[in-house]
Amino acid sequence: MRTHSSRRLLGALAVLATLSLTATACGSDGSNAGTGGAPKDVAAALEKGGKVTVWAWEPTLKKVAADFEKKYPNVDVELVNAGTGDKQYTALQNAIAAGSGAPDVAQIEYYALGQFAIGKTVEDLSPYGAAKYGTSFTPGPWNAVTEGEAIFALPMDSGPMAFFYNKKVFDKHGVKVPTTWDEYVEAARTLHKADPKIFITNDTGDAGATTSLIWQAGGRPYKTDGTNVTVDFGDEGTRKYTATWQKLLDEKLVAPISSWSDAWYKGLADGSLATLSIGAWMPANLSSGVASASGDWRVAPLPQWTKGDKASAENGGSSLAVPKAAKNKELAYAFTEFATTGTGATSRVTEGAFPATRADLESKAFLDKPFPYFGGQQANRVFAESARNVGEDWSYLPFQVYANSIFNDTVGKAYVSPTKLDDGLKNWQDASVKYGNDQGFTVNE
């Protein structure tokens, strides 16, 4: 095969030309004309009908979408699972940047909503009539979707934390269910000593879990006021958390298994992972993914940082937002409202979602519901109690999705090397501050 360098150069140029042709095609802006509608426009839109594309992974929306179509026959709801969590956010950002293909409604977790709100890529829902729901939702989720007068999404579910424990394992080794985190560490030692295969829980570094436990301990590392942001992992609450968790890491009392992996499901099934401190949405995952351990598990309030306290925090939970790029915002709002309030919310709770609506959370049917998986325990009572005790004034960063994505590069080191948790959090803070400033926020200044 003969080749000439000049020909090669020509070829390379041709390739470059092709590439730049492709690249120029992407310079269009995603802004869409039209400002917020009014409640009457929403009613008119429902009458007129049309198609609503919803990006969500929440399984209970399926039934709600069907109910909505039944109630408003002119409306066609297309429910699309565009990925879970950050995968979907990436896709959403891409679609918004590309100027087409964005959905009318998108599921966004509370921790990620700030990013879309501050980027002005989601619609303020208050002109559509969302303001009247201020008292319908529990304070934690409502606080997460509002900023001043603006309402950037409606809460779809919530995740007040609870302590799930394998009663069979605790009983077998004669260990008392811990009520404080000190007792928790003690239980971890006892169980692991009795059977080296048993770990109190798994942890390989999970930003959501860490921030939730800091939240419960009273730490408020993030403060956001417009574009002024503070990140401080040096407060007392954070230190309470790291002091306890460092003990668990130093003594290797937590299993090096990542949450949601198949090893995790296996550990939850065979009793080698004895407890989980996680959101109230967990029962659905336990009963489908860990069916063989049905009857072994029970639910209790979270262990406390101070004996006798009742502090709690949120872990996970998501909202429905209407992207500014939505084609039919009135209809999009109508679906959002239907799915998150009133009968829509109730039907989703029946399907297994954990409510963010007060009415559902306080209903007798909900509270009295026995969970066969938890040996008949009325677990919702524990969850509802937790929802009432969620610490106030928590906020996430307006770039939390990015911050969480670098958690393992910074705090994660404390799990695999002699780095201390405090130092890891410091590194996380520094990296977050740098990124925030690079993005045009004023962080820690």
């Binding site: 070829g11 990925g83 879970t84 100027g99 995740g159 499901y265 967990m282 995952n285």
Partner: protein, 327 residues
């Protein structure tokens, strides 16, 4: 190895292993060399290779390494969700659920798996089929016609082989998004039609497999260019064509990244995305963990590709060796 060498050497003349394509009736297989009858007396030749214990062991090891994941998949497709978590990974659980698993995989979520399977077949038929047609036409033209800019085309093709499809996926997405083609089957089919490697392979193959003298003879006899291509060249190009077809079929069947960014509507998912979506369910608050269906679905996903391989493997071998022997 030996078979591919011999077929490669025989490439410029009609391949005796090649049943109908060359227009000749199926030739009987070559008689076995006498060597098999009395191995000791004859010297070692490529057809009578020396036995080597370390090499055999090494090959055996590689074989086990290659087959182990497949064995794991087959074994675990017979387990229930509970069995998957409770039993040893490389042996069967107490219960045998394969048929039940297959039924449930095909019917779960209103039979969406079947829909994904049909989508994948569509993408493979249109994308890989189209890519092969284009590669054969283009490769033949580039090999047998002299025209200005041929070398430039060659450089572009070589350059395009070097650019990974993944790197082009995002620009392609933005372009398709502007054209309003994302979320449609076209978004997967059109990029799949482009196969620089296939074009290059067909080019090299056509240069070797179709004697220019033959084409000249056809022209002298008054055959038009199209007729020459279809009746003279195409039959000679069959082994290469099948190779390119296989390459593009495997690439399209396994394609993940392109549909991932192009397609958001689960109704247009190929199997790769669908299985991943099922897997993500286990990582979702309130989602249903369906590990048993994912494992069984994966097994069902590879069955067609394994079948295609077994049926067409000798073309694959001969095609891979194309151009390896210069005459």
């Amino acid at each position: 190895m030996t078979t591919s060498m011999t077929t490669a050497a025989a490439e410029s003349t009609p391949d005796p292993h090649e049943p109908r394509a060359a227009g000749t009736p199926a030739a009987p297989h070559r008689a076995r060399p006498a060597a098999t009858r009395d191995r000791k007396r004859l010297p070692h030749t490529p057809l009578n290779p020396r036995r080597s214990v370390p090499l055999t062991l090494l090959t055996g090891l590689v074989l086990v390494y290659t087959l182990l994941p497949l064995a794991w998949l087959v074994i675990n497709a017979t387990k229930s969700q509970r069995g998957l978590l409770d039993s040893f990974g490389l042996w069967f659980a107490d219960d045998f659920n394969l048929w039940d698993n297959i039924t449930r995989t095909l019917t779960y979520d209103d039979g969406v798996f079947v829909r994904w399977l049909l989508n994948t077949l569509l993408y493979v038929a249109a994308g890989a089929g189209g890519a092969t047609v284009l590669a054969v036409l283009g490769g033949y033209a580039l090999a047998k016609y002299d025209f200005p800019g041929r070398k430039a085309v060659f450089a572009v093709v070589i350059g395009a082989v070097a650019v990974p499809g993944t790197a082009l996926a995002v620009p392609t997405f933005l372009m398709f998004s502007n054209m309003g083609l994302t979320n449609t089957p076209w978004a997967v089919i059109i990029p799949s039609l482009i196969s620089p490697f296939g074009l290059y392979l067909m080019w090299v193959f056509a240069a070797e497999a179709v004697p220019t003298e033959l084409l000249e003879a056809a022209r002298i006899d008054g055959s038009g260019e199209l007729r020459t291509f279809f009746t003279i060249a195409l039959p000679l190009l069959v082994p290469g064509t099948v190779t390119v077809l296989l390459f593009s079929m495997v690439a399209t069947w396994n394609n993940y990244f392109l549909p991932l960014i192009m397609i958001k509507d689960p109704d247009w998912y190929p199997l790769t995305l669908g299985l991943n979506a099922w897997n993500a369910q286990a990582q979702t608050a309130g989602g249903e963990a369906v590990f048993d269906l994912i494992v069984t679905g994966s097994l069902l996903t590879i069955v067609p590709i394994v079948a295609v391989f077994l049926l067409l493997q000798r073309y694959w071998q001969s095609g891979l060796a194309a151009g390896s022997v210069k005459e």
